[in-house]
Symmetry: C2
C-alpha cells in the first residue's frame, strides 16, 4: 500500500477534451498497478467516460470543479477568477499534500501562474522554469532544455538558477553524476550575444567553480548543440527556448512527411516501405514528440507536469509516466534542497541581483 502514488489530473484543460485525458490515464493504469488518480473536472462528463473503464474507475476519485480555464485566457485573469476551476483544484491538491504531482494539458501560462500562487516558489528561486527532455546524441538519449516558456525574459540570476535546477533534473531524470551545463547563444565565442548573455556566462562559470557546485559549466553552446552530446543541460530564456522547441517539433514533423512522401512516390518505393517497415517504426518511435511529452515545472514547492495542449492519449500517458517517476524519486524535494544549498554566496555574486521576483 505504501508504494501507491496519487497523481492529480486536470481533466478539462486540453484541446481535445476529457475523453483523451481519461484514455491516457487508462493506458498508464494498465501498465502501472501502483498509480492512483484524483481527477478534476465536470462529473457529468467524466462519470460516463469512467464507467466504461471499470479498472480505471476503481482507482480514480472525481473531484468536481466549478469552471474551466480557457486555452487563450490570460494568466492574470486565471489567478483572479480561476478559483474552483479544474486546473486550480488540480494544483491545489498537490499544494495541500493530497497528491504527489499535478498533471494538466491546459493553458501553460495559467498553469504556471496558479502553481506559483498555490505552491509558492521554492526558497531562493525568483522565477520557476519549464524543463523538457529533448532527444539527443548523448548516451541517455536525451538532453534537458530549460526554460521553454515559463518566462519570456531571464536575467543572469534566473539563468543561473535554471542551471542549478536543470542539473538536478539531469541527476534525477538522466542518472548523471555531474551534468554538463551549457548556455544557449548565437555563437561560442565570448563576444557573441548581448550583455545579458555575457553576464550570465561569467556568473555560471563562478558558480561551477564554487564548493557546492554539482555540475560542470561548458560555456556557450549553439542551437545545434541542443540535440548534440557536448552538454547534458541547455539553459536559456523562455522566449528562445520555446521557439527552439517548436521549431524542432516542426522540423521533425516536416521530415516525417517528406519520408512518407518519399516512400509513396513510386511502386518500387512502396515495396521498399514494406521491407523498411520495422526500421521506419523504430525511427518514428525515436522522434515521436508524444513520447517525450511533458514539461516539468522546476522551482516550486511541489511538482507539476505540463502536457502538450494537443496531446493524444499516448502523449498524455507519457506525461503521467513522467509524473509518476518524479513522485517515486521525491524529485521536487531534491531539487529544492539542491537549489537551497547551491545558492547562498554563489549566485548572489557581485553585480547580480537576486531580489524577490514578481509574480506575473
Amino acid at each position: 500500500m505504501t508504494r501507491q502514488i496519487v497523481l492529480s489530473i486536470d481533466a478539462m484543460g486540453g484541446d481535445r477534451g476529457p475523453a483523451v485525458v481519461i484514455s491516457g490515464m487508462a493506458k498508464s493504469a494498465a501498465k502501472n498497478p501502483d498509480i492512483r488518480f484524483l481527477l478534476h473536472g465536470d462529473p457529468q462528463q467524466l462519470e460516463p467516460l469512467l464507467r466504461r473503464r471499470p479498472a480505471l474507475d476503481r482507482i480514480t476519485e472525481i473531484r468536481p470543479c466549478s469552471g474551466v480555464i480557457a486555452m487563450g485566457e490570460k494568466p492574470s485573469h486565471a489567478v483572479r477568477h480561476g478559483k474552483g476551476s479544474s486546473m486550480w483544484n488540480c494544483v491545489d491538491a498537490v499544494a495541500r499534500g493530497e497528491a504527489a504531482v499535478a498533471v494538466s494539458c491546459g493553458n501553460t501560462g495559467a498553469l504556471m501562474a496558479l502553481s506559483m500562487l498555490r505552491m509558492r516558489r521554492a526558497p531562493g528561486i525568483d522565477r520557476p522554469a519549464i524543463a523538457v527532455l529533448w532527444p539527443s546524441r548523448n548516451r541517455s538519449g536525451y538532453n534537458i532544455v530549460l526554460d521553454v516558456g515559463a518566462d519570456v525574459r531571464a536575467d543572469a540570476a534566473s539563468l543561473s538558477q535554471y542551471a542549478i535546477m536543470g542539473a538536478e533534473y539531469a541527476r534525477v531524470g538522466l542518472h548523471l553524476e555531474t551534468p554538463r551545463v551549457g548556455l544557449l547563444n548565437v555563437g561560442t565565442e565570448d563576444h557573441k550575444g548581448g550583455a545579458g548573455r555575457h553576464e550570465a556566462n561569467a556568473t555560471l562559470a563562478r558558480i561551477a567553480e564554487g564548493p557546492s557546485a554539482a555540475f560542470t559549466y561548458h560555456g556557450f553552446v549553439e542551437g545545434g548543440d541542443i540535440t548534440g552530446d557536448k552538454v547534458d543541460v541547455i539553459v536559456t530564456d523562455g522566449f528562445t527556448g520555446n521557439i527552439a522547441l517548436k521549431t524542432a517539433e516542426g522540423t521533425a514533423s516536416l521530415i516525417g512527411s517528406f519520408l512518407s512522401e518519399g516512400f509513396r512516390a513510386t511502386l518500387l518505393s512502396r515495396i521498399a516501405a514494406i521491407f523498411a517497415f520495422r526500421a521506419l517504426q523504430r525511427l518514428k518511435k525515436r522522434i515521436d514528440p508524444r513520447r517525450v511529452n511533458g514539461g516539468v515545472f522546476l522551482g516550486l514547492n511541489g511538482a507539476v507536469v505540463k502536457s502538450h495542449g494537443s496531446a493524444d492519449s499516448t502523449g498524455f500517458s507519457a506525461a503521467i509516466k513522467l509524473a509518476f517517476r518524479m513522485a517515486q524519486d521525491g524529485f521536487a524535494e531534491k531539487v529544492a534542497a539542491r537549489v537551497a544549498s547551491g545558492l547562498p554566496g554563489s549566485i548572489t555574486a557581485p553585480g547580480v541581483t537576486t531580489g524577490a521576483g514578481t509574480d506575473k
Copy 2:
C-alpha cells in the same frame, strides 16, 4: 557577352580553406556558361589550385589580398584592421561595381560589418538582416526567415523593415505576388511575448493596411510555423532566428543519424535499405542543408551571400547559384526600391523610432 555575370568570391574565409571554395566554383562553372569570377586570396595558394582546372582558370581573375579575417575575429577589429584582406576586397569589388554579388564563407559578423562599411545601408534601412530559405510545406518548398544573425536585437522599426525586405525576397526568390508575413513569437494570442513583440505586431498590421503594402500580415506565428504553410516569410530578431536555424539543422542531422541506425540495425533492415535507397536519397536531398546554403544580406546597396563556414564544395556551389540568380534578377536594386517606397509615412508610425541606426 552581355549576359555574363561576375561574382566576387572570398577564397580564404571558410573553415575548410580555398580548395573547397575553388572546387565549389568549378561545380557552378560546369553548369553555367555565363558565370565569371573575381577570386580574392593568396595567389601562392590559389594559382596551383586553379592551374589544375583550366576551364575554371579561364573565367577567373585572381585578386591578391594582404591578409585574412579569422573566424573568431570581432567585427569591430575587422573594420579597423581588415583593409586589404580577402573579405574586404571581396565586398569592395561589389561596392565599386566590378562584380554583381559578393560570396564569402567567412566570419558572419565581420562580413556584415565590412559590407555595411563599404556598401552602406540602403535608404531607409537602419539595420540590415540576413535571410535564409527554409524547407517548408508551402508549394514552393521554401519559406523565408529573417533575421538569422545580423543583429541580436531588433526593435519594432527593424522588424517592420525585415518584413518589407523579406516580402521582396519572397517575390523575387519564390515568385509570390503577395507574400504572407508572420512575426515569430511564443504563442499566437495577442498577449503573448514581450512589449517589443506587441509593438512590432501593431506596426506591421498598420503597414500591411497601407496603400504601398506589398504583403499581407498574418500576425504572430510560432516555431512550428517556420516549416509550415501558414505564411511565406517569418520575421524575427537575429538572436532567436539564429538559434531556430541551428536547432532545425541539428534536429535534421539527428533524425538522419537515427534513420541510418534504424536501417543498419538488423539484417532485414539492411535489405530494406537497398530497396529504399532511392526513397532515402530523395529525402536526403530534400533536407540536405547544403542545398539551401546561403544567407542573403538584405538592406545594403549591393548584394552579399554568406555561405556556411563549414560548407563543402556542394554547399559552396549552392551559395554561388543563389548569388548568380540574385544578380540575374537585379535583386538588390528591387529590394532597395521597394523598401524606399514602402517606408515613408508607414514605418515611421507614432511611437516608433526610425532614427539612424548605429553601425556595430
